[in-house]
C-alpha cells in the first residue's frame, strides 16, 4: 500500500529527477487510479514537483521575462491587439452614433452592456479568493497560481469598468458617477445600487492592485538583482528598495495578512452589491433575497473557470508544469464543482420560491425563463453551469487537461449566459404585454463583447512578458526545505513536552 511511506522523507523517494519534471504527472492517467494519488492520507507530499532548489524556482519564474519573446507570444499579442482594436472601433462608433447602435429596445433597456459588466466583475473574484480567502484558510497550494489569478482579477476589473462607462449614453459626463463637489450642487443618487457599484468596484480594483503589488515586491527585487542597465533601474524603482532583510519580511507578512483580511469582506461585498443592481428592484426574476450569496458563488465559479483556462495554457507555454501541477487543477476542479452546485441550488430555489410565493408574476417569469423565447439561453446556462460540471466528480476528468480546458470554457460560456438570462428574460416580457419585445443583439453588441476579451488578453500577454508570473518568493516558502526543520517529521514531542510515555508504542 502506498501509505507504507513514512511521515516524511517521501519527497525524496517519490519525486522524479529534475530532468523529468512535469512529465510525470502530466500523462499519468494510470496513477489517477491509485487512491493515494495527489492526496495521500499518511503524509502531505510536496506541492512543487521535482524537488527544485530555491534557485531552480527563481530560474523557472525569471526565465520567461529574461529571454526574448517567443513567436507564440507575438502571435497571441497580435491577435489580442486585433480584438482590442475591434473594441476601440466599437466604442468609437458607439460614441459617435449613440446607444442606438446596440440592439436595445423598449422593455430591454439593458442587455449586453450590463451582462458583460457583471461577467467581468465575476471573473475577477477567483483571483481575490485565491489570494485572500485561501490565504486565510492556509491553502498553500494557492501560491503557485495566485500571482496570475490576481493579475487576471485586475484585467477583468478593467474590462468590467468599461461597460458602465460607455453605456451612460453621454460618456462625456461619465464623471458624474463620482461624488465630485460642483457649483451646481449636483450629487449622485446615493440610494441607488448603481452608485454603490461605482464605489464597490473602484475600491475593489484599488485594493486588488495594492494586494497584488505588495505580493510582487520581493519578486521584482529578484528580477532587479538579476538584470542590468535600464531594466535594473525600472525593476529597482518598482521594488521599492526591497533587500529581503528580516525586517522587510516581517513587515511584508503583516501587510499581506492585513490586506488579505481587508480583501476578504471586500470580494464578498462587490458581487453582493452587483447583485443588488437587480435585487433591489421589484422586478420578478431580479428581486429575490438569495441574490447576494448566489452572485458571489457564481462569480467564484466563473473566475475559477477562467483561471483554469489561463493556467492550462500558461504552465505549458512557460514550462511551469512542476509548479502548477495536476493537484492544483484537481483542487480548482473541486471548487468549480462546489460553486457550480451552489448556483444550481440558487436556480432551483428561485423556481421553488417563485411557485411558493403564489405570485402570478413570479410564476410567469420563471416559466417564461425556462420555456419562453429565451429557453435556449436558459438551458445553455443550466447545462454549462450545473449539468456539465458534474463531470468533475470523476477523477479521470479532474486529471485530464483536455477535459479541464473544455469544461472551463463551457463554464465561462454558461456564466455569461447566466447574467444574460437574468437580465434579458426578466425585462423582455414586462408587466404590460403590449410592450413585450424580443431582444436581438446588434453587430456592435457582439463586437463590443468580443473586443473586451481583446483588452483582457492584451493585458495578460503584457503581464506574462513583464511581470514574474508566479509568486516565486511564496512558492519557495512552501518547498520542503523552507520548513523550519526540513528533515524532521512532525513528531508529537512538541505538543507533549516531557511525556515520552505517550509516544507510539508507549515508552521509546
Amino acid at each position: 500500500m502506498a501509505t507504507s511511506k513514512g511521515m516524511n522523507g517521501t519527497h525524496t523517494e517519490s519525486t522524479p529527477p529534475a530532468g523529468l519534471r512535469g512529465q510525470t504527472v502530466e500523462t499519468s492517467h494510470g496513477l489517477a487510479d491509485d487512491p493515494d494519488f495527489l492526496d495521500p492520507v499518511g503524509h502531505r507530499p510536496p506541492l512543487i514537483l521535482g524537488a527544485p532548489s530555491f534557485h531552480d524556482v527563481t530560474e523557472a519564474v525569471a526565465r520567461p521575462l529574461e529571454r526574448p519573446p517567443t513567436r507564440a507570444w507575438w502571435a497571441c499579442l497580435l491577435a489580442s491587439l486585433a480584438l482590442l482594436g475591434l473594441l476601440g472601433v466599437s466604442i468609437g462608433w458607439l460614441f459617435w452614433e449613440g446607444i442606438g447602435v446596440w440592439g436595445l429596445n423598449n422593455p430591454v433597456g439593458w442587455a449586453f452592456d450590463i451582462t458583460n459588466f457583471v461577467f467581468w466583475v465575476g471573473i475577477g473574484h477567483a483571483g481575490t479568493l485565491i489570494s485572500a480567502i485561501l490565504f486565510l484558510f492556509r491553502q498553500k497550494w494557492r501560491t503557485s497560481i495566485n500571482r496570475a489569478a490576481e493579475a487576471m482579477t485586475l484585467f477583468a476589473v478593467m474590462c468590467a469598468l468599461i461597460f458602465p462607462g460607455i453605456h451612460v449614453g453621454r460618456p462625456w459626463v461619465a464623471y458624474w458617477m463620482f461624488p465630485i463637489p460642483n457649483q451646481m450642487g449636483m450629487w449622485p443618487q446615493f440610494r441607488s445600487p448603481l452608485m454603490w457599484d461605482v464605489f464597490a468596484v473602484s475600491i475593489y480594483g484599488s485594493v486588488s492592485l495594492l494586494f497584488w503589488y505588495v505580493g510582487l515586491v520581493p519578486d521584482l527585487a529578484t528580477i532587479r538583482d538579476r538584470s542590468k542597465g535600464l531594466r535594473r533601474m525600472i525593476f529597482g524603482a518598482f521594488a521599492l528598495g526591497w533587500r529581503s532583510s528580516m525586517r522587510h519580511w516581517q513587515h511584508y507578512e503583516k501587510a499581506y495578512l492585513i490586506l488579505a483580511g481587508l480583501a476578504t469582506p471586500l470580494v464578498l461585498s462587490v458581487h453582493s452589491i452587483v447583485s443588488m443592481d437587480f435585487a433591489t428592484s421589484q422586478l420578478p426574476g431580479w428581486h429575490t433575497t438569495i441574490f447576494p450569496p448566489y452572485f458571489v458563488a457564481g462569480a467564484i465559479f466563473s473566475g475559477f473557470a477562467m483561471v483554469v483556462t489561463l493556467m492550462v495554457i500558461m504552465r505549458k507555454a512557460f514550462g511551469l508544469e512542476h509548479i502548477i501541477t495536476m493537484k492544483h487543477f484537481d483542487y480548482m476542479a473541486k471548487i468549480m464543482l462546489l460553486t457550480g452546485m451552489m448556483v444550481g441550488y440558487a436556480y432551483g430555489l428561485e423556481f421553488f420560491i417563485a411557485w411558493f410565493s403564489g405570485s402570478a408574476y413570479e410564476v410567469f417569469t420563471f416559466k417564461n425563463r425556462a420555456f419562453g423565447p429565451y429557453a435556449w439561453a436558459y438551458w445553455t446556462m443550466v447545462s454549462c453551469n450545473v449539468f456539465l460540471p458534474q463531470l468533475f466528480w470523476f477523477k479521470k476528468v479532474r486529471s485530464s487537461l483536455v477535459w479541464l480546458f473544455i469544461l472551463s470554457i463551457f463554464v465561462n460560456v454558461g456564466m455569461w449566459f447566466e447574467r444574460f438570462v437574468i437580465i434579458v428574460t426578466s425585462l423582455h416580457r414586462d408587466f404590460l404585454p403590449s410592450s413585450w419585445f424580443y431582444f436581438r443583439p446588434s453587430l456592435f453588441d457582439v463586437t463590443t463583447m468580443i473586443g473586451a476579451f481583446g483588452l483582457f488578453f492584451t493585458m495578460f500577454c503584457l503581464f506574462v512578458r513583464f511581470v514574474p508570473i508566479v509568486a516565486a518568493a511564496e512558492v519557495k516558502s512552501v518547498l520542503p526545505q523552507a520548513a523550519a526543520h526540513p528533515n524532521e517529521a512532525p513528531e508529537i514531542e512538541p505538543a507533549l513536552p516531557g511525556r515520552t510515555d505517550l509516544l507510539p508504542g508507549g515508552a521509546r
Binding site: 501509505t3 443588488m276 433591489t280 430555489l349 508529537i492 507533549l496 505517550l502
Partner: protein, 416 residues
Amino acid sequence: MSAPHHSGGTGPRPASLHTDALHLPPGHSWHRLPTVGLTLAAVGLGGSLAFGLLGGTEARHQLWHSWLVGSLFVLGISLGALFFVLVQHATQAGWSIVVRRLAENVMGALPYLALLFVPLAVLGLGDLFHWSHPEAVQSDPLLQHKAAYLNVPFFLIRTFASFAIWSVLAVWFSRQSRLQDETGDHEITRRMRRRSAPALILFALTVTFFAFDWLMSLDPHWYSTIFGLYFFAGSVMSFFAVLALVALAAKRQGLLTLVLSDEHQHDVGKLLFAFVAFWAYMAFSQYLLIWYANLPEETSFFAKRMVGTWSIAGTVLALGHFIVPFFFLLPRTIKRNATALRLAALWLLAMHLLDLHWLVMPNLHPAGMAPGLLDALTLIGCCGVFLAAFGGALKRRALVPLRDPRLPESLTFENV
C-alpha cells in the same frame, strides 16, 4: 475497546497517544453528564408539558412555540457539528483532528433530538402552523395554492426524511471514526472523504427545506429564498460557540490538556468569528433587499418584528449578534484568551437563542416580547436532552480520534 497501541490494521501505525490520557478517566465529573442531562430534560420537558397542556389553549400555544425554539436551538448546534465534520473530511483538514471527536459527539445528539420533534409533530402542528387547519386553507386562496407543499402528510414525510438523513450521516461518520481508533486503517479516512461530498449535498438540501418548513412556514404567506442559508449560518455559528466552550471546559477539567493547544482554540475562534460575519451577511442581505423593494407580501415579516418590544430585539440582534462580537473577536489575543473566548461564545449562544425567539415568537405575541416560564422550561429540557446525548457519546469513546493518520499534524499545528 482494544488498546490502540497494539499493532493492527494496515499501513504504519500512526503516532497514537496513550489511551488513558485521552479517555474520560473513571470517576471524572463528566461521567455524570447523561444523568444531569436527563434530569434537566425530565424537569424541563415534564414541567413544560404539565404547565402547557393543563393551562388551557393559550398555554398550549405557548408551549409548542417555546418547545420549537428550544428544539431548534439544540438542533442547530448539532447540525453545525455535522457540517463541520463533513467539511473537515471533504477538505482533508489536518489542524482540526483533535477537536473533531468533540464535534462528532455533538453531532451524535442528532438521532436523539429527533425525539424532541415527535411531540411537536404529533401534538403541536395545529398550534404552530396556520396552514395545517383545513378550514383556514379553504378561506385562503394563497394557502390553497401552497397546499401541494404545505400539507401535513408531506410536511411530516419531509421532517422524517431530514432526521433520517442526519441521523444516518451522524452515526456513520462517528462510527467510522471510532472504528479507526481500533484499526488505524487509512482506508477509513479515504472512505469518509469520498462520502463527505455527497453528504454535504444532502445536508444543504435538508437544512434548507427544514428551515422553510419549521420556521418560514410559521407565517405561511411569507417567503425568502435566503432563509435556509440564514438558519444555516446562525446554526453553524452556535456550533462553533459550543465547540469553543466544550474544548475550553475539557481543558479546565483536566482533559486533553496536552492535546488542545492555544492554536486549536485560536482556529475555533476564527471560525466563530467568520460565522458571526456570515450570519450578518445573510441577515443584512435579507433585510436590505426586502426593505428596499418594499413589497407588502415580503415586508410583512419585518413589519411584524417592528412592533413594540420586538423592534428592541431586532436592534439587539444587529448589535449583539454582529457589531459587538465582530469587533470583540477580531483581535488575535481575544481568540487565544480562554476567558475572553468563553465570554464571546456564551454571549453568542444567547444571541442565537434570541434570534430563534425573534423568528418564532412574533407569530404568537404580535404585540411585543413576552418571555415566560415555558420558554425557560422548554429550553432547559431541550438542553438537557442535548447534554445527555452528548455526555453519553463522550463516555463511549476516546476524546480524540486516536489513530487518525493526520493526528500528528493536528498535534503539532501552529498558526504562523
